[in-house]
Symmetry: C2
Subunit: 236 residues, 2 copies
């Protein structure tokens, strides 16, 4: 209202998008590159951006995710804001912000969103000057990401674990439409950092009211083909 | 870092503090008064304020609650940020902000916190030029509060309900140290907007592992004195 700028340089949104490749939990990150003192500087960050001046937070999160990855109609759920004054203490982060926004940037509070999506969703991996990719959540924990994005991903995963206690059916957002109990178990274990017993898990799983057994088996697998299941949203 | 001001006029914190008086769920609000066109303008708002430039969000919430109510060592839990550009569309709100902060204020994103406290906690109800008071949550829903504070209170209550599904023992934060099952039921019903059956609730309650029966009865009540109970944190 009083600002001359299109962007509000004090508030950003960041999106933690999780996917599951059948074996590992992945998170969607953006590669950022810039020349710093004649050296190419290269690291990774969450899809995120400063909000527009007349934009609500949820709208900003959807817009940014779409601009950077092509993803549309994703259910993004706000989970936490991060506002340590130290968030912008890394000079590379500030330099990158000021180059991309062409504004003087001080302290930024970011509002973080989380989403669970099927990993086969079509993603534009190479936008104008960014590229998006899936990364193993465990591996990325040991890589220094931009700003406080390591912490945001960690808190996003904790948030998902808590929500799954109340809404276990959310896990199915990460699976393909048809899946095996063994895939469901791998996903469960990867999210909860557990190692479930194969038989016990199977017993528990088939009791879930929203799990529907299909008259189909896996195809083209080297081992004995397993039964396929689907998730019935109406019974959740 | 780049700002000359002590305060960051773009980000605020607001605290939704719930208490229970044995009958009704209450929320702590601040009375705000100002002269507008020679008329005294008077309404209510959540305890909140713009954050300091070098202050983290959690610290800001604790500081503000302490400044406005004297409350210390309250466990404030961040639950949601509110950032609609329309938050500051009421001229009275903007005028009040600019008078109290002595800054030009545009759009403000607020990070909301929630706390459950015992209603007999000592509160400084009259600070320098503010006064704090407990208000019935149901009644206040029909009164126009400052900014989007009606919505923030509503969302804070929803958040508490969800958390109680996972952590039912949080309810005891709102009760006195010694309480009757009937008080526990009133509180449960007021938070969940239910009307529990007296007998069924009693049966369920005495099965809670963290509920400890005391060798004491209520005192000075006109009806038959009921058994007192306490909450055992170690068994939660």
């Amino acid at each position: 209202m009083f600002s001359e700028n299109l962007y509000n340089p004090h508030i950003s949104v960041d999106c933690v998008v999780f996917g599951f490749d059948g074996e590992k939990l992945k998170v969607l990150l953006i590669e950022r590159s810039m020349n710093e003192q004649n050296e190419l500087y290269n690291d990774k960050k969450l899809p995120g951006s400063i909000i527009l001046n007349n934009e609500d937070l949820d709208d900003a999160a959807s817009r940014v995710l779409n601009e950077l990855t092509g993803l549309k109609n994703i259910y993004l759920s706000q989970f936490k804001s991060f506002g340590s004054p130290l968030r912008t203490s890394n000079p590379s982060d500030v330099l990158w912000l000021e180059r991309t926004t062409k504004m003087k940037i001080g302290r930024i509070v970011t509002v973080a969103y989380v989403a669970l999506i099927k990993i086969d969703r079509k993603i534009v991996f190479n936008a104008e000057d960014t590229s998006a990719n899936w990364y193993d959540v465990n591996e990325i924990a040991n890589v220094q990401l931009a700003f406080d994005h390591n912490r945001i991903i960690k808190d996003g995963l904790l948030h998902i674990r808590h929500r799954l206690d109340l809404e276990p059916h959310l896990l199915f957002e990460l699976l393909p439409n048809k899946f095996t109990i063994s895939q469901l178990r791998s996903l469960y274990d990867v999210v909860h950092q557990t190692r479930s017993d194969v038989r016990n898990f199977h017993k528990k799983a088939i009791q879930m009211p929203y799990l529907v057994m299909l008259d189909e088996l896996e195809e083209g697998v080297p081992h004995r083909a397993a039964r396929l299941y689907k998730f019935d949203k109406k019974k959740k």
